[in-house]
């Protein structure tokens, strides 16, 4: 479904990604782990063409998207949805209008069908009947759920999650983790989850890719990750900084 080949990205004077290679199979959930500032979100945004790489290629569904101009990325962006770290809800619209937005932009005119699909997406994220609420009235967890509902309402084949549980309390985190898993089973989508939360990784992942110093340091299953004796990975999993107090 997604193939990343020798992806390099330089932002200003800093090289964030240094030749990333990664294959993500259709229908799988791949979790990209790494420390804060390791370039996970930058990598994720390349998969939908929000960033242009310095060099390297990104292939989605057999199409090379790296050098497509903005106006020709529409086809890929209808297949690949993205949940942003902050939810990125349009704050001039209520929840219902936020969810109807991608449908209207895709050319859907039938208001009844739009209403039904909005209600269905909200029901999937356990927020049925919240159409009239404005984004500023929502908690952090609810904003992420609404953001997720807006992502799935267009029925994408692949969902990209950028730090879906960052800033949430443990209960909300667990709820979002199970929601990701449930949606993956129900919609049979390919998922790419960027996180530094090990619980999210262990709950949602089929495959784990560990990003370290701009490269994929490890790629394999969750069990294989747990079994690796490498201190770079074990310190990350166990949250050991090496500092002493």
């Amino acid at each position: 479904m997604i193939s990343i080949r020798q992806l390099t990205k330089t932002l200003g004077s800093q090289t964030v990604l240094r030749g990333v290679d990664l294959e993500i199979e259709k229908g799988q959930t791949c979790v990209i782990l790494g420390r804060s500032g390791s370039g996970k979100s930058v990598l994720l945004k390349h998969l939908i063409g929000l960033f242009q790489p310095t060099s390297g290629e990104v292939w989605v569904e057999g199409e090379e998207i790296t050098h497509l101009p903005e106006r020709r990325l529409g086809g890929i962006r209808k297949k690949v949805g993205m949940l942003f770290q902050s939810g990125a809800l349009f704050d001039s619209m209520n929840v219902g209008e936020n969810l109807a937005f991608p449908l209207r932009e895709a050319g859907l005119k039938n208001e009844r069908e739009i209403r039904d699909r909005v209600a269905e997406a909200l029901e999937m994220v356990d927020l049925a009947g919240e159409e009239k609420k404005m984004p500023e009235k929502l908690s952090g967890g609810m904003r992420k759920r609404v953001g997720l509902a807006r992502t799935i309402v267009g029925r994408p084949e692949c969902i990209l999650y950028d730090e879906p549980t960052t800033g949430l309390d443990p209960i909300a985190t667990d709820s979002i983790n199970h929601l990701i898993r449930r949606l993956q089973k129900r919609l049979l989508v390919t998922s790419v989850v960027v996180t530094h939360d090990m619980k999210t990784a262990f709950t949602t992942a089929d495959q784990v890719a560990f990003l370290h110093e701009g490269r994929i340091y490890f790629h394999g299953t969750v069990d294989a990750l747990r079994a690796v004796p490498d201190p770079v990975i074990t310190d990350f999993i166990e949250g050991r900084s090496g500092d002493v107090s």
Partner: protein, 260 residues
């Protein structure tokens, strides 16, 4: 010193280049992408309707103050009845477009830069793009069109109110003869003055729209970045309006020579 000047020159060239690219992409979007009429109508309300207070106050008090100042100077020369025509020509050619432009830059330009800047740092612009919506089509085109359509109307309104307030100040407060006031006004104000006012209004609308959208789209992360975008939009728009006004005055006097 030379290095610093060179750096400033390069920054200016880069800035002008970015504005030119934004203008090109906006013009292209107007041709190849459908116009979003609902967003355009909403922006016309924002630009035109919500600017009414500042435009009314600016137009009326500029006309009134200019009338009083002109009257006090002209009275000693025995030219009281010429006050109306001088005020009207000044309003049409300079004060109406320039002051309205500055007021709209302050109110609308700041709002545009703040709104787009906030959308940028909260990833709403990335969210638009992820739904296959080009930010230029959705955010820039409606604002540019709204400003280009609204500014000439706002300037016409400001000048009209300025002349009305000038009449009341001159005739009812300062005792200028009403028929003389109007007669001189009709004699000295012609279509070229109206054309100059509308051309300047159009150009200032373009300046405010592109400068403000550019500042918003290039807002830096964080509260400081978002806070700086509207401030810079207002400062740059105001400076460009004042400088452009000088060159437009020469250009428009060539395009619309006396008697046209």
């Amino acid at each position: 010193m030379v290095t610093a000047l060179g750096r400033i020159a390069l920054s200016l060239i880069q800035y002008l280049g970015e504005l030119a690219v934004l203008a090109y992409e906006t013009c292209l979007a107007m041709v190849i992408a459908p116009i979003r009429w609902r967003l355009l109508a909403r922006q016309i309300v924002e630009v035109g309707w919500r600017s009414q207070l500042v435009v009314i106050v600016t137009g009326m008090f500029t006309g009134a103050v200019l009338t009083a100042q002109t009257y006090f100077q002209f009275a000693s020369l025995g030219m009281k009845s010429a006050t109306g025509s001088v005020v009207a020509v000044a309003l049409f050619r300079e004060l109406g477009p320039t002051l309205t432009g500055l007021m709209v830059a302050g109110r609308v330009g700041a709002a545009i830069a703040a709104e787009i800047g906030t959308m940028k740092v909260t990833e709403q612009i990335d969210a638009l793009r992820s739904h296959a919506v080009h930010p230029i089509d959705y955010l820039v085109v409606p604002r540019v069109l709204a400003l280009v359509l609204s500014m000439p109307l706002l300037v016409a309104q400001s000048v009209g109110l300025g002349i009305i307030s000038s009449y009341f100040t001159g005739v009812h407060l300062l005792g200028i003869s009403g028929p003389f006031f109007l007669s001189n006004l009709y004699s000295y104000v012609g279509p070229r003055d109206i054309k100059m006012a509308l051309c300047k209004a159009f150009c200032f609308g373009v300046v405010i729209a592109f400068v403000s959208c550019h500042q918003g789209l290039n807002a830096k992360e964080g509260a400081v970045g978002v806070g700086r975008a509207p401030t810079e939009a207002v400062v740059i728009s105001s400076l460009v309006i004042l400088i452009a006004n000088f060159f437009l005055t020469f250009l428009l006097n060539m395009l619309f020579p006396y008697g046209s």
